[in-house]
Symmetry: C2
Subunit: 442 residues, 2 copies
């Protein structure tokens, strides 16, 4: 991919800003803990002011104040456990509305031009899947005009409008990251900065491995695997979008003093946070970039199913129909060759529904018994370097074996290897693999 | 107009919906205390269900959960004391959004068809006066179609959309009453029922006069005077609208057991709450219908201004420019005939600004000194019967004099007389006048 053209303010380039340094379009996203109260919103606005003062054009995407969405969801559940997703959306979307307005007011009080935008005002067009909607389009023209006039746009994250019924639709929990990346794409932004309560993406969870290191850069592909394999830093869908549109995305801490950070510049960035970018922008690529783990897995074993063609379809068909995602699958062969045991994993939250579906399909599948356990963990090693380096998996299995850790299931892709292990071994496994692949901080 | 038949349970009493009883369109408005939590919203929905079960077509208007708006306003003030009214509106409008969604969910859980509507979705068109906007138009066609299909419309009170900038505008505190009446007009409703925490309009405040009585009916004109003279039951603007469009409006308590009330019927209403209606629907009209009092008055006296033409303009011009409403005005003549003292009243909240305006206009007005007091109360007697009965004022002044109560200022209209008195005499004055005009309960 060609380097990005470094000219935003039109040809000629004379004028106020130093020659050659063009203004950038920056999208800045702040999560719930960063806007938890008015004092923190003030801090967020100082981050925004830093960018505006440097000549950047800024759109801000905000989440609801932390706790607000939980309160709203609790009211909805108290109203009815079976609720209309469209009403749920109208209710929970109000949280971001409040933050966006407060942010605009504080920015104005700092002398900046600013206004809040709700999803339906831009509009951010979504599909009909209320509660877990996907953004179909963002009509960014008006917003972009306002940015060009020097106004900061403060946009409600997590929501858009389903145009056919003219109703608010939300993107699901954590959807503000996705809103930010989608908006950055629509505005042709130079960067999408995701401010959060950690200062970047780490080689693994620093709470488990104190020697974990911040990754200055990580590729879209690796970030996508990390997000879907348990890292909570970015929402999976937002990374998919960033990857699809090659939108450079940074993960930064909002709790760093705003004035201690450099504003975004097209001609060079300081080494802060983590830049999610193209693989070939990363000069010294490690074979393994990170170790992820996910505790919300559940393992199910179906005992003694007939070992014949079509049996997998009979097991997994009903689960797919019930919208249950199956992850790892292992099939053992029992000695007599007629029957087999099948093991697979699902999200722990889906375990009760999964068991129900299997129970009602017992006749058509034909099995002896079902065993289930949520006391398992999926540990994954991730790295684009695996494509060109053999032996990563072998090293991994050997290391785990030498610690006496039993592997219950395995799944792989081009750039990751995941193993399912018993939960009590999770920390030991993560620490061992982190050392094994040379990720420990000196 | 013919007197209203006072028959609640219908003729003959055969069958569920007796022949000839048409379905009515009913707008039901519930204030903040009526929807303070999900349990109370459930109670509200039982009121709605009663109407739907009786065959009525129902639109519900809801306020924010009590306390919610205060929290939102507090955040706005913390963000900045000088805030953009458009952002304020975007923030505070979220309160009703939450209640509307929750109400729709509860109604659905009771087996009713329902959906929430935000001001911009209907749309409710307002002018540009953010924070105190006026409704210009309500496009009620879609809503009316939905009602005709048996769906309950749950509408956010207090807000609409300013179409030019496509931004949410609020009507000011208490604006949900106005939303309800305006919606009732747009839907050509048969009645606008305002549910509140009192069971109707009283001859005066029952907390001061235990002998106060509920008024079964009150005329638009009287209600308008009561609202603007201190009764908090209905918002003034909503009564103006009801009067303008002759929209029959009832004041009812939401805390009465929903099933203990009769549903609205076109052919007769039970004697419950207060009906605000045309004067000639009220058969036994009293000369005086009620006594109102307002504590939020402040009295200002400008001492020794020149007694010459144009002086009033020089005093009240600057106040009008500053958007300060002057209510009662008294001008005394001092012995030498050259100078005069001017006394007038403003809202107590406006007192500091009023004094500031007068101070900066001191040169152009030319006065000696200014005295101010917020320790005054305005007591008013109201009744359309005054038009045809002389002597009401004389009786009033005599009664107050006999109690030793000094009258500081007087203002009158065709159907009301207001006097300004010192605050400590307020209760005595109200009680005396309540007896004087025969309003005491037996």
């Amino acid at each position: 991919m060609a380097a990005q053209p470094v000219c935003a303010s039109g040809p000629g380039g004379s004028g106020e800003l130093a020659a050659g340094v063009a203004m950038a379009v920056v999208v800045m996203k702040f999560g719930g803990t960063s806007v938890a109260n008015v004092e923190r919103i003030r801090n967020v606005c100082r981050h925004v002011k830093r960018e505006v003062d440097a000549g950047n054009k800024v759109a801000v995407v905000v989440s609801a104040m932390s706790g607000a969405t939980n309160q709203l969801v609790a009211w909805v559940r108290e109203a009815s456990l079976l609720h209309d997703a469209r009403e749920y959306d109208a209710i929970v979307a109000s949280g971001e509305q409040v933050t966006a307005g407060l942010t605009a007011i504080v920015l104005q009080s700092m002398g900046l031009q600013a206004r809040s935008w709700q999803g339906w005002q831009i509009p951010v067009i979504t599909d009909k899947a209320h509660g877990a909607a996907r953004i179909l389009d963002i009509k960014g023209e008006t917003l972009r005009e306002r940015l060009d006039q020097g106004e900061v746009a403060v946009v409600t994250g997590f929501q858009g409008i389903e145009p056919e019924r003219n109703r608010i639709a939300t993107l699901g929990r954590g959807g503000s990251d996705t809103s930010a990346v989608a908006l950055a794409v629509a505005l042709k932004a130079d960067v999408c900065d995701i401010y959060t309560d950690v200062d970047g993406v780490y080689t693994t969870d620093p709470r488990i491995v104190p020697k974990a290191q911040r990754l200055p850069k990580v590729s879209y592909e690796e970030m996508l695997e990390m997000a879907s394999l348990g890292s909570k830093v970015l929402q999976t869908r937002s990374v998919e979008l960033a990857m699809l549109y090659r939108m450079r995305t940074r993960v930064l801490s909002s709790f760093v003093a705003p004035e201690a950070m450099q504003p975004f510049r097209l001609d060079g960035l300081e080494d802060i946070g983590t830049i999610v970018c193209d693989e070939d922008e990363i000069v010294e690529q490690q074979v393994v970039s990170g170790i992820a783990y996910a505790k919300d897995e559940a393992k199910i074993t179906i005992l003694k199913v007939a070992d014949k063609p079509g049996i997998a379809a009979r097991v997994f068909g009903p689960l797919a129909e019930a919208n249950i995602n199956v992850d790892m699958i292992v099939q053992n062969i029992t000695p007599d060759g007629k029957f087999t045991d099948m093991t697979f994993t699902v999200q722990a939250a889906e375990l009760p529904r999964t068991l129900e579906v299997l129970k009602s399909a017992k006749e058509s599948i034909g099995y002896n018994d079902v065993m289930a356990s949520a006391d398992v963990v999926k540990v994954s090693v991730i790295g684009v370097g695996m494509r060109s380096h053999a032996g990563v998996a072998a090293q991994m299995f050997q290391a785990l074996a030498s610690k006496g850790i039993n592997i219950l299931a395995i799944s792989t892709s081009e750039i990751k290897i995941s193993v399912l292990i018993e939960a009590p071994y999770a920390e030991l496994a993560v620490r061992s693999l982190h050392s094994l692949y040379g990720l420990d901080k000196d």
